[in-house]
């Protein structure tokens, strides 16, 4: 049997390389693949039968399992691997998905162009060039598909391509936005690491459609493996005459280069990204002019997200109508989500638009871990919002999600349970946006700072009556006044938590209480005199000298001195210190 180890970043972090080595030491020939998306089961080893079909998927594999896996691969008998075999329930995680952008992820070898080709790769661009489809034909097909930008804003892809195609100004550029700045999202990383050629093919088709001969991929610096795999893929494509001059003898030429980002969230915004590509500080420009008129180097440019491009070759091969057959009236095709947080089965999920949030979180993701209760799901990262339980039946659809105050976003879906404080969540995001604000416009630079300060105050128990109204007023000002999408959407996490979790704000401000028990400053510690044996362990540990009591007598905590560090809880061997 053929042995394949899943070696995306998550797999590697979970120990896939050690498993790979151990298998080789046991005489296996080991192949690699990217991320199958079942991150919670990594490291994963797949055994393929001689007929090429997947015979067994082994999960949470350790180095120690290598000998018997090697044995089974040789003999073809997997009965001894029962404990490692994926369960039916876990298999359903994949079976419930519809994979287009992720079609090859975790299946093909990301470092081999032949592997991509054997899955139908590069057939779409060959078809376009062979059949002499025009740029308009391609754009027409994308229009039929209803594909909208997967980077967050959901703008119709065909429209942008058309604008760039019709733009006068000689040289044109195509840019792929692989900055993936939304913390908690890793769809684009997975696509590049697992199927880099599908990005290249999608970009080639776009470049052909708009008439660009130079293309860039702007990858964030935190993704070293993605950069390495993309570099390899580009070299392979160049060798196969799929990149460079006169591609496949068609007269169409296109070069592709990688530009590594240098760490700045705002550079995901398209005009800031262009500034960064030009070697400048990544500060957004005022729009219009849009990049389609004046982009990189002042020339017409088109920018799309990784996932947007990853859908393109599929659409050309299967027809726009097949893509449009999935989804809702306003949102077509599929969408990839990175399901994380307090979820039982976290990973990558691609589903047709029009399912509900509940389908994704409970049916596919298996609901909340550790028997706790669902509280909210955060979508769209720092530009998005928190959606409460009462809205779990909301459809995955640009319009429906927008109506909740959150957004579809790029695909981050962070699930929270009852132990997450929603005020602190808002504080967390504003800490992020205040730090990442580039400082060009006052509303964003100062507004996010004031929002953050106010939220810090509330989480520290220093909230005042009227703070919520103050937050709302600030939010309105920032939304109206900010120059770019970063500032315009920065208030969303605050506004949605106020809208759906106002009672938590009130509890912090009025009762000086954090209902989730997360805000350290609002916790109170006390010692149960029935359980305390007077061992003095806690008093010795207390950095503030807030605990007093005689040896072998129950101790007490002086609340006025307590700094809420929690050391006493850790020190107590009798479970006598309680936190509220």
């Amino acid at each position: 049997m053929r042995v394949v180890v899943g070696e995306g970043s998550c797999g590697i972090a979970a120990g896939a390389l050690a498993v790979h080595r151990a298998l080789e030491e046991n005489g296996c020939e080991v192949g690699i693949t990217g991320c199958i998306g079942m991150c919670y089961l990594e490291p994963i080893v797949d055994l393929y039968g001689d007929d090429g079909a997947l015979a067994a998927r082994l999960v949470k594999v350790g180095e120690a399992d290598a000998p018997r896996i090697a044995q089974a691969a040789k003999s073809g008998d997997v009965t001894g691997l029962g404990d490692l075999l994926i369960t039916g329930e876990d298999r359903s995680f994949l079976e419930k998905q519809t994979r287009i952008a992720l079609r090859n992820c975790g299946i093909i070898d990301p470092e081999s162009i032949e592997s991509y080709r054997s899955a139908g790769g590069y057939e779409a661009i060959s078809k376009i060039l062979r059949e002499g489809m025009t740029g308009e034909d391609v754009i027409g097909e994308i229009r039929t598909s209803g594909l909208a930008g997967r980077g967050g804003a959901g703008f119709p892809t065909w429209f942008k391509w058309n604008a760039a195609r019709n733009s006068k100004g000689g040289e044109k550029f195509l840019v792929c936005n692989a900055d993936e700045g939304d913390p908690g999202a890793f769809m684009d990383r997975a696509v590049i690491e697992s199927d880099p050629h599908s990005l290249i093919e999608g970009m080639l088709i776009a470049a052909y459609a708009i008439g660009a001969e130079k293309a860039f991929v702007y990858v964030r610096a935190e993704y070293p493996l993605a950069i390495v795999r993309l570099e390899k893929a580009i070299a392979q494509a160049e060798k196969a005459n799929l990149l460079g001059a006169d591609i496949l003898g068609s007269g169409f030429s296109c070069s592709l280069r990688i530009k590594a980002g240098a760490g700045a969230f705002v550079c995901g915004e398209e005009t800031a990204l262009i500034e960064s590509l030009e070697g400048n500080r990544g500060m957004p420009r005022l729009k219009p002019p849009f990049p389609a008129e004046k982009g990189f180097d002042g020339k017409p440019s088109n920018i799309n997200n990784v996932e947007t491009f990853a859908n393109v070759a599929w659409i050309i091969r299967n027809g726009g109508a097949a893509f449009a057959a999935m989804g809702t009236e306003t949102s077509k095709g599929t969408k990839v989500f990175a399901l994380t947080g307090k979820i039982r089965r976290g990973g990558l999920v691609e589903i047709p638009m029009g399912l509900t949030l509940r389908d994704v979180i409970f049916d596919i993701g298996g609901g909340i871990r550790d028997g706790k209760k669902f509280k909210a799901v955060q979508m769209g990262g720092p530009s998005g919002g928190c959606i409460p339980e009462s809205l779990l039946d909301t459809l995955i659809d640009y319009k429906a999600l927008g109506a909740t105050g959150a957004i579809m976003g790029s695909g981050g879906m962070v699930v929270m349970d009852e132990s997450t404080c929603m005020v602190n969540m808002a504080r967390f995001f504003l800490d992020f946006t205040a730090k990442e604000s580039c400082g060009k416009c006052v509303h964003c630079r100062i507004g996010t700072k004031r929002l953050h300060e106010t939220l810090v105050r509330i989480t520290e128990g220093k909230g005042r009556e009227g703070d919520v109204e103050l937050l709302e007023e600030l939010c309105r000002g920032i939304k109206d006044g900010a120059l770019c999408g970063l500032g315009q959407t920065a208030p969303n996490p605050v506004l949605t938590t106020i809208r759906y979790f106002r009672d938590e704000y009130d509890a912090h401000i009025r009762a000086k209480r954090c209902p989730a028990g997360e805000c350290a400053a609002l916790r109170t510690y006390s010692i149960d005199s029935g359980k305390c044996v007077g061992c003095t362990a806690c008093a010795k540990k207390c950095p503030a000298g807030a605990i007093a009591g005689d040896l072998k007598k129950p101790h007490v905590i002086d609340e006025s001195k307590c700094v809420k560090c929690g050391e006493c809880v850790k020190a107590c061997r009798f479970g006598a210190v309680s936190v509220k």
Partner: protein, 163 residues
């Protein structure tokens, strides 16, 4: 020039400056390569780049300080990138941060006195499903607990002492 900086071997920079000589969009890329060579961006290097590119040192400094990847001070032997992204936040990144700060006695952005560790908090390493996560040099460590994080740091330290 600042008197705190030791002298860098500027000749190492020449091939990079030459490679990008015809590309007037390359400042970020040049700074990245310079940082690979020197480990950080000493100010004589910044001046050199400015001079060779026909830019003011302020412009180069402006770009260098805009991006979080660039460092104006040397880093420790081991660079810890601790994720404070959303998924890691929800799964207890703050307690990992506290554990590392306790263990190393440094805050975000600082380097230990022995030059072994630098701690940088970052937003999302893209391994959210294994959160909380940190990356030391090129290795990612997932599913951390405060204890586990401390142990990882201790074992790197012990290894360093053995060498």
């Amino acid at each position: 020039m600042c008197k705190n900086c030791s002298k860098s071997d500027l000749a190492l920079l020449d091939p990079v400056l030459e490679e990008f000589a015809g590309d007037n969009h390359a400042l970020v890329a040049i700074l990245q390569r310079a940082q690979e060579i020197y480990g950080h961006l000493p100010c004589d290097v910044i001046y050199r780049i400015a001079e060779k590119r026909g830019l003011s040192p302020a412009k180069v400094m402006g770009v260098a300080t805009f991006y979080s990847q660039f460092r104006l001070k040397p880093v420790g032997k081991n660079l810890i990138l601790l994720c404070k992204g959303t998924a890691c936040h929800v799964n207890g990144a703050d307690s990992i941060a506290k554990a590392l700060k306790d263990e190393l006695g440094i805050s975000d952005g600082e380097t230990t006195a022995d030059g072994l560790f630098t701690l940088n908090e970052v937003a999302c390493l893209g391994c959210c499903s294994l959160s909380p996560v940190m990356m030391i040099n090129e290795t990612t460590y997932g599913s951390l607990t405060p204890e586990k994080a401390k142990e990882i740091v201790r074992s790197i330290k012990a290894e360093g002492e053995r060498q």
